[in-house]
């Protein structure tokens, strides 16, 4: 048997080699064509993307090509959405500017008026007493503070919306943050004899940025002080959950109408009931933006006439 092997190997090997070569060539040609086909298809897709035309083939078929065209469609949508968003933002900026100029007009007019009174002092024979002068200066000071406050919050809001402030949020102890916020409003609360107290409040690590979160708490507390009558009470408490920690701030203020609960977090929203109370409708909106960046959120429960309870949810720190 063995000699037969030896004798026949030569031609067999040759035949095998030829066949292998042919198969290889065929495969090479096939893959070359396939590569070309995919290249052409991808190229066409890109062109369609660039020309803002509908992407072919349809993304609703099985197979690799359809997956790619599905993705291409998504890219196209994203581009269109961004264009639409930019247009929307332009509108918002317009309304923001008109609103802000309104907000600034009154205090500025007041400042100009006091300035006029003060500079007229001593001219035309009429002179103000030291007391009066001080009175007008104080008033002027209050109004300038107001302008300053409006500008500051506007600045923060614009920066946040532009994503220009990329603040670092990280694990931090919450007690200090909250305490800073309380300190900011403590004086105002004292003036109105409003008691600020806490319930069970252990210190713990939460995912937040102290500086900006203080802003959130301060805004809520400021509202609480503003809308709570004298001798009212503000209570702060905490509830730990698996992933989030809730920090609630409850007041005994005027409360919020049920129909308005969804609107109070919107920019510039002011309840018609408090039209006469000072405010710009920025605070809660700003708070919402900040919390969104910290992967948290806030909501409110309220009974009209009895008080509101704002809850801020921040993520617990996982190791």
């Amino acid at each position: 048997m063995e000699w037969m092997w030896a004798e026949n190997t030569g031609p067999v090997i040759v035949v095998c080699a030829v066949m292998a070569a042919v198969i290889c060539a065929a495969a090479a040609l096939f893959f070359y064509r396939e590569k070309n086909r995919i290249y052409r298809m991808a190229c066409k897709m890109m062109d369609e993307l660039l020309d803002d035309k509908a992407v072919t083939p349809s993304g609703l078929k099985e197979g690799e090509a359809a997956v790619l065209s599905g993705k291409a469609e998504r890219i196209q949508e994203k581009l269109r959405a961004e264009i639409g968003q930019a247009a929307g933002e332009k509108e918002q900026v317009k309304s923001l500017i008109s609103n802000m100029s309104h907000q600034l007009k009154t205090p500025l007019a007041n400042i100009m008026m006091y300035e006029e009174i003060l500079s007229a002092d001593g001219k035309g024979g009429k002179s103000l007493s030291e007391e009066e002068r001080k009175h007008f200066l104080d008033k002027m000071h209050v109004q300038s503070e107001k302008v300053n406050w409006i500008l500051n919050s506007l600045f923060k809001m614009v920066k946040l919306e532009e994503n220009a402030i990329v603040f670092e949020a990280g694990p931090g102890l919450i007690r200090k943050t909250l305490l800073d916020a309380v300190n900011l409003v403590y004086e105002k609360a004292q003036k109105k004899q409003i008691e600020i107290g806490t319930e069970y409040f252990p210190d713990c690590l939460l995912y937040h940025n102290p500086k900006w979160t203080t802003e959130v708490f301060a805004n809520i507390l400021e509202n609480a002080v503003k809308y709570t009558p004298e001798y009212g009470k503000i209570t702060i408490g905490m509830r730990r959950m698996e992933m989030y920690t809730e920090i609630w701030i409850r007041d005994t203020g005027r409360g919020i109408d049920k129909g308005e609960l969804n609107s109070i977090f919107k920019r510039f929203y002011r309840s018609p009931d408090v039209e006469n109370v000072e405010g710009s409708g920025i605070g809660l909106y700003l708070g919402k933006l900040i919390l969104e960046k910290e992967k948290g959120y806030m909501n409110v429960a309220s009974v009209k006439g009895e008080g509101s309870c704002f809850s801020v949810f921040l993520q617990n720190c996982r190791n």
Partner: protein
């Protein structure tokens, strides 16, 4: 950019005496990245609406257009692929695969799609975001309700769908876990720029959404309160 357009949709179940008008002349749009809630009492047609949008049912009249595709015009095969690539579902009862662990449950819709490779980095990111990375090897029956719903949420996000439809996602959860699931739903919708449409009968939950759509007896009331800003003090 509109992800979803619902145009004059009407849905009637049954015929003759048993005819039930589930939806009457419902129209609304949903923009990309919006987090909307559909609120209404039970039996008001919320779930019917969600089924129509998800392509699980066809409207008697009117059109449902998701990303330019008229859902009613797709054939069965196209509809399957359409759902897989464009829509993520989150159900009240989680609907997880009991024989698969957390990771495989989340990766499941991606592996269904031929020609799509599984982006492990993305799934890892998702699971970490939802606090499930340590639990990735556990099976659904070893998890709490809230955790199971978080897995369902991760699964809905895994395919980066155009639209996530959530049908009472917190219906089976206590108030604690509801808060957590809602927070994560909101945070992930922002992080991954997802469009979410959620059905709920809980008004307090709807508060956290960008927009509330109210539905009563099959009719729609867009709850967007118009307000005008006023100048001066």
């Amino acid at each position: 950019m509109k992800v979803l357009e619902v145009q004059n949709v009407e849905k009637i179940y049954g015929s003759g005496e048993n005819k039930v008008h589930a939806l009457r002349d419902v129209s609304f749009d949903v923009e990309l990245g919006e987090f909307s809630a559909i609120v209404g009492a039970s039996g008001s047609g919320k779930s019917t609406l969600l089924n129509l949008i998800g392509g699980l049912d066809v409207p008697t009249k009117g059109k449902v257009v998701v990303r330019g595709h008229d859902v009613a015009k797709l054939n069965r095969k196209e509809l399957t692929i359409f759902r897989r690539r464009n829509i993520g579902f989150v159900f009240q009862n989680y609907s997880l695969m009991p024989v698969l662990n957390v990771y495989d449950n989340v990766a499941l819709p991606v592996t269904f799609d031929k020609g799509k490779y599984v982006d492990h980095e993305y799934i890892r990111d998702l699971l970490t975001e939802l606090g499930l990375w340590e639990k990735r090897k556990n099976y659904p029956n070893e998890l709490s309700g809230g955790q199971q719903q978080r897995v369902a949420l991760a699964r809905a996000l895994a395919n980066k769908p155009a639209l996530i439809l959530a049908d009472e996602p917190t219906g089976n959860l206590d108030s604690h876990t509801t808060i957590e699931v809602m927070g994560l739903l909101k945070a992930s919708s922002k992080k991954y720029n997802q469009t979410i449409l959620m059905v709920t009968h809980n008004e307090a939950i709807a508060q956290t959404c960008d927009r509330t759509i109210r539905i009563e007896d099959g009719k729609l009331y867009d709850g967007e309160l118009e307000f005008y800003t006023r100048g001066g003090e």
